[in-house]
Symmetry: C2
Amino acid sequence: MLCVGLDPDVHRLPPSLTAASPSTNAAVETFCREIVDATADLVCAFKPQIAHFAALGAERELERVCAHMRSEHPDVLLILDAKRGDIGSTAERYAAEAFDRYGAHVVTVNPYLGGDSIEPFLTHDARDPDSGGVFVLCRTSNPGSGDLQSLLVDSEPLYLHVARRVVSWNELGDCGLVVGATYPSELADVRALVGDLPLLVPGIGAQGGDIAATVSAGRDTIGFGMAINSSRAILYADASPDWPAAARSAAQSTVAEIRSVP
Amino acid sequence: MLCVGLDPDVHRLPPSLTAASPSTNAAVETFCREIVDATADLVCAFKPQIAHFAALGAERELERVCAHMRSEHPDVLLILDAKRGDIGSTAERYAAEAFDRYGAHVVTVNPYLGGDSIEPFLTHDARDPDSGGVFVLCRTSNPGSGDLQSLLVDSEPLYLHVARRVVSWNELGDCGLVVGATYPSELADVRALVGDLPLLVPGIGAQGGDIAATVSAGRDTIGFGMAINSSRAILYADASPDWPAAARSAAQSTVAEIRSVP
């Protein structure tokens, strides 16, 4: 159930890699490919975070990293973390970006604009029948997430209303939800409401979420159903020339911790 | 108070332009530059919608269009319509994308993740002291916007709670709100709540919002304070070889209609 998030930070790349690369963006691409190849047999998903590429003007590099994932590791889910949300005609263009350009199976989306902003992702006529899914933001892992998400609507926090909406939107296609590991009791509340819909769970590792509490609270009726994301704790496990092995080792430890939950 | 939205649709570009361009993306760039030059003296803002460029892999073209706006029309506000919303460390990368890469003055953002997802945009240490503002989505113009935005919190719709939050976030920097022209009475409610904060108002033209109702409901205490966006009605006013003049003429008509409101 491990998902490795690809959030490349040029200030934290291994110095040996940066020194051997012709450009910063080339270093980012190599870094991501090496992380992918070092961990692919341990994970259920990869989750590139598009902001980290967009800030660098590294869209071409992201295209190649995604193409590499799809060709070399076709059984691993490719989640484009883009948190898109816009009116229908624009959402359709974001769907084209995620599914046609980057070859994502699934894209993260924001529910604030409502169901007609999600629908184009679910009905997008992609080249690839495996693509076209969404993970809808429900309860996010950041400290300020409660500003809106915890407001009470009919005595229940807003994020539970979002969870119910996602269940209804799921009739159109492949929906899941994003629920942060930093709030395990709320994760359990969402799981109770959405049945066995898949959950993308960020917030372990650098953000402080507890793995055992997360797995206990979030797993589905057969004990799976989550993509538990770790980014920085795996990507930057070690800056020595052996960094791919260190990333693999950090991923192995995380998988062992996930599996050890009774 | 007119804002021209740049939502280039390759299927609606003037045939004479497409035929004369070496590539689709080159045609998109020329189209946007010509629209900008044809309308700059009539508008308060341009609003490129990034999805329409991202779906084409036309980020370099968008960079050049934005640079052209800033150098040739420096008094026109450049609003990057990206509707970003992510946790702090990622929001900072989106701020770098919007302000450093594209040279935007202002970027549209989504409030669902809360105040700490907005703050990096307001505190971003940009190269340009004029940049660093946000328009926060409040009440959007699409049919499904009520799915979440109209849910009642303490007997008031969620979007009014968002409006209050934006007033408090404004202490950090330059905040405005996005309120659709398709709901004029709700626009008036937001205006009453936020004082003279600037409003970005999409939804006139192709989306059906009424200009007179919009201006009456949304103007501030000195009669301004809105960027009223029109995209398709101006961009695709005419597909003949005289299309820049037709776009200018459509913009002039819209300005006249805005000014005629008593």
